[in-house]
Assembly symmetry: C2
Homo-oligomer: 237 residues x 2
Amino acid sequence: MTDHQPGPTSPKAQLIAGEVRRRIVEREWQQGERIPDEADLAVTFGAARATVNKALQLLADEGLLDRRRRAGTRVAVNPVRKAVFTIPIIREQVESAGMEYSHRVIAQRRSPVPEAIATRIGLPAGRILIHLRAVHYGNDRAFQFEDRWINPDSAPGLDTVDFRHQNANEWLVRNAPYLRADIAFSAENADRRDARLLRVPKGQALLILHRSTWNDAGPITTVRIACHPGYVMSTAG
Amino acid sequence: MTDHQPGPTSPKAQLIAGEVRRRIVEREWQQGERIPDEADLAVTFGAARATVNKALQLLADEGLLDRRRRAGTRVAVNPVRKAVFTIPIIREQVESAGMEYSHRVIAQRRSPVPEAIATRIGLPAGRILIHLRAVHYGNDRAFQFEDRWINPDSAPGLDTVDFRHQNANEWLVRNAPYLRADIAFSAENADRRDARLLRVPKGQALLILHRSTWNDAGPITTVRIACHPGYVMSTAG
């Protein structure tokens, strides 16, 4: 006996999702059309209703199906495309690429938060936060440069941590779980500092990741990560 | 009566997910610790077991919980961060920003696919595909420039479509549902053509989206989208 019903990735649910996807792709079930009830599909596929439910939810999450409480499930007319990215821990990402990870803290100090950053996380400008700048390396080549602000009020124990010995990203992941995260990608031309720390020409196009996290005590951290040229963020991993 | 059990966004499942999240964030349930069984939680929260299951799955999808078939559910030691982005239809994105949408087809022709692109989608180089280049505008300002290849074998009816009158993105969404998509973000300095079509200086950092889709007949389309400067792709929408 198991404690849980199968998750959405259970082989049976995946199988059913695959078959439903095929029917949609081959237009057996047309866009806008209502598909059979869960109970009927459970009989058709010889599966528990909960398993059919999971399979349909998987397709709804992908945007292929439109599920409404009382109106049943229809083939989406205008599929929303959802892309799920896994935001990896930098060290693991470097190591899984077969490189040796290292990092160097450029600065770690208490500092009043500038207005633009304060606004982003909903704190008054001038509040004293920890300002941390660090470069992450793979085989001694600059991989990412992070410029991070951490709110001591939301991360108890922070004062005792020396980020030269412990990577802030990992410490935060383990010690300050978040309730909410905002993540945004954009592109910027490397400024003088990006260029110096990543060892690239000034003006080089860089993928920039902004991430802010909150728990119930308020903002935990906000970080701007400048990725080395050629960095690709992809759904495949 | 409804045909479906509540989806993961049902208010009750959300409520339970919120409470479980709180217990994790406030360290009542520590990282690595096994949490109570679904059946017990169902009693605790006065909810159906399926609802508890959905709430836990929601948190597992976020990376906060680790669910194993027989080993039960534990608080994740090393939360994987998942970011879900909605890839919008360009026209809707422009219109929802309160701008008037228009688009201009630069070129639409049958052309042998170059090797780099053929490799990306798993076709032999030189295969004849539809090559389409178009600029999307919001209030007459260039919003995105797309350079797209479409495989007629995977998109029946393609030959009759004139993309000057119908936006390729929307036609494909409605007429060639995909089974699999690869999506990747990177940053590039605008080349001469990007610069001319987006009306930006050469070298301007641009967010580049590559997307390829497949159905069971093979690759449907692969597109490189260069976004206007300042474009931000965010989880918030």
